[in-house]
């Protein structure tokens, strides 16, 4: 116990702060052109990712999405290689070949953050199959959004996990929108969790702004998976503050006051208030925020100081052996 709250609570707060501050800084430097490509931020959804990942062990598997910054940080990844990846540097977690949509740190159990909507679901089912066949007790958790649940891959993956009773947890981070299309016009059921019924899969609906509630829900699912009870579907009701990708406002709906209403239930704000109400000193939380700010700044400095990959490295990792390098590249 530390100042009325345990280290676990503080760790959840720290990880949520890491995600928020990492992305705030990324968005700022993206606006200045320092980060190439698109940036799909996770701000608003931190309690969903952190709550879910805190219910896992480090060696448990996790598969994510194009909104890929939050999941690895939630699972405990170090910030330096993530920021370096955003800048396209050789020290990036994917050596500068994945970028913002693919921040995936295999050292913390990540098996990929994939940018084809729904495509991670069969992969997670397969990882769970591997765990089951190896009898290693690991579970595989898959994050995806509301939009993914309209994809065939989602249904095929859930079906396979259900018939084989695989140790999988499917976490739908329902943030209300698929790019600009509201879930209300693309999904015919009120709660996406209802879709799990078709696979005889138990489901839980949870407030995605409440990190403790998400952790408890996923912990129940993990327990079921580890004890041979098969997969569980968890729907976290959450929200993303930014457009589908930052600076894409031109193509999006005007969400009006909706964003402000959700900001009232900001997961970091809610959790800070909860911890203070439970006796945690505000100073301690301030100190965590400051430590995280230093970590994030250090990550950016590391990324800026790192070199870009060499041209030859474009030919690494297509296969286990490097591809031959064409003459026009050598020259």
């Amino acid at each position: 116990m530390t100042d009325g709250q345990n280290d676990r609570s503080l760790e959840k707060y720290r990880r949520m702060q890491r995600i928020r501050q990492f992305e705030d800084l990324a968005e700022a430097i993206h606006a200045q052109g320092e980060i190439p490509g698109a940036l799909h931020t996770y701000a608003g959804q931190e309690a969903s990712g952190v709550g879910a990942c805190m219910a896992l062990n480090t060696e448990d598997y996790m598969v994510g999405t194009h909104r890929s910054h939050g999941h690895p940080i939630a699972k405990g990844a170090k910030l330096r290689p993530l920021m370096a990846e955003l800048l396209g540097k050789a020290t990036g977690i994917c050596k500068g070949k994945g970028g913002s949509m693919h921040l995936s740190d295999f050292s913390v159990g990540s098996l990929g953050e994939t940018s084809i909507v729904g495509s991670g679901v069969p992969v997670a089912a397969g990882a769970a199959l591997g765990s089951k066949m190896q009898g290693n007790g690991r579970v595989a958790l898959c994050f995806f959004g509301d939009g993914a649940t309209n994809e065939g891959a989602f249904h095929e993956g859930l079906n396979i996990a259900a018939i084989w009773k695989l140790p999988a947890i499917f976490v739908c981070e329902n943030n209300g929108y698929a790019v600009s299309t509201p879930a209300s016009v693309a999904v015919p059921v009120k709660d996406i969790a209802e879709r799990a019924k078709a696979y005889g899969m138990p489901s839980i609906i949870v407030d995605g702004q409440d990190v403790d509630a998400v952790e408890a829900a996923v912990a129940e699912a993990v327990e079921r998976a580890r004890t041979g009870g098969g997969p569980t579907f968890v729907e976290t009701k959450t929200y993303r503050y930014a457009d589908h990708a930052v600076n894409m406002g031109r193509i999006l709906l005007d969400r009006g006051a909706e964003v402000d209403e959700w900001r009232e239930r900001d997961p970091l704000k809610l959790y800070r208030a909860k911890l203070i109400a439970a006796g945690t000193a505000a100073d301690l939380l301030d100190r965590i925020e400051k430590e995280v700010a230093d970590e994030v700044a250090d990550a950016l400095q590391f990324a800026r100081d790192s070199a870009y990959p060499t041209q030859e490295e474009a030919f690494d990792d297509v296969f286990v052996d490097r591809l031959p390098i064409p003459d026009f590249i050598k020259a």
Partner: protein, 330 residues
């Protein structure tokens, strides 16, 4: 050393590799009932944990094989007929081909996806594809199309041991061919190593899959006319044994490709371009392509077979090429 068929070669390769390495397992549609005879006796030997019937959901189970391979398993996926790879294009193209790359080498996907090229039997357009060349257009997939039982076994065993994803295409027109098979459980033919199926001096016929027996038949006829054809079988398309092709063409000075795929962007087209680019100085005529005509495959028997490569088309092309003084077309 015993004579075995192409399908028996597949069965032996899988049986030996599953016996050797417990991480190897097989999954797909109707494996247990064993439609084509490539898993006879497998459930008794390995149980239903390692011999898995899947629901009909190609994207789902091929994606699941990807996930299993990423956590240390070595799946063989039997996707039955190669047209059934289309529902799984997302997992094959976006996940299996690209995961290692986009995660900077953190992922490893040692899996084999088997499917047969099931054409020439009045099964209509959706069951008659010869689609390996489509997959050549994306990096990250190794692609094998063997033409003999011997090659099939040695290459499939190598594919199972390979740390990269391999697509194994099994040409059904080769199914009944037989080879003497070595007994060595470590008999392997590395992917990327082509084979000269017949030596010759006047022209090179570079043939793929079911094109190889046709080329050999054509070469036998041409020999009677005094035309000596060399038949080159690349055996795998990715990686492609460019050297064996170019060496042959530099020796003979003439080249015909024989590819059961549709002509546009076929493997034969890629090989023709390779020859034009790197052995142009050796050529005494144009590189000719024998491929399937660019229409869908019809059901009606009298009009199906003429669309595919045949020994007659190869012979005609060879005669015109060897005798050619004017421009030639195939």
């Amino acid at each position: 050393m015993a004579k075995v068929t192409f399908l028996e070669a597949i069965r032996q390769a899988q049986m030996e590799e599953m016996t050797r390495d417990e991480r190897v397992f097989i999954m797909g549609e109707d494996i247990i009932c064993n439609v084509f005879g490539t898993t006879t006796g497998f459930v008794d030997a390995f149980g239903t944990e390692r011999v898995r019937d899947t629901p009909i959901s190609e994207n789902g189970f091929i994606g699941a094989a990807a996930g299993a391979s990423m956590v240390g398993m070595r799946p063989i996926v039997d996707a039955t007929i190669s047209s059934f790879l289309y529902p799984a294009m997302d997992q094959i193209m976006s996940i299996i081909a690209k995961s290692r790359y986009i995660y900077g080498g953190q992922a490893r996907l040692p899996l084999v996806i088997r499917s047969c090229l099931f054409y020439g039997n009045s099964n209509a357009a959706q069951h008659s594809d010869r689609n390996y060349s489509m997959f050549m257009n994306v990096p990250g997939l190794k692609i094998m199309v063997p033409s003999t039982a011997y090659d099939m076994k040695g290459m499939l065993k190598a594919a199972v041991r390979d740390d990269d994803p391999v697509l194994c295409f099994e040409d059904s027109t080769c199914w009944t061919s037989k080879s003497d098979m070595p007994d060595d459980p470590d008999f392997l033919i590395p992917l990327g190593k082509g084979d000269i199926k017949r030596e010759g001096t006047d022209l090179s016929i570079i043939a793929i899959g079911g094109g190889v027996p046709l080329a050999l038949k054509a070469a036998a006829t041409l020999a009677k006319e005094g035309i000596s054809a060399e038949v080159v079988d690349p055996r795998s398309l990715v990686p492609l044994d460019k050297e064996i092709i170019l060496r042959s063409v530099r020796k003979t000075g003439r080249a015909i490709t024989v590819d059961p795929a549709h002509q546009s962007c076929s493997a034969g087209s890629e090989i023709a371009a390779l020859i034009a680019e790197h052995a142009f100085d050796s050529l005494r005529g144009p590189v000719l392509r024998i491929a399937t005509a660019e229409t869908h495959v019809p059901f009606s028997p009298p009009i199906e077979k003429a669309l595919y490569p045949s020994a007659e088309r190869i012979i005609a092309a060879a005669r015109r090429l060897v005798g050619a003084r004017e421009a030639v077309d195939a």
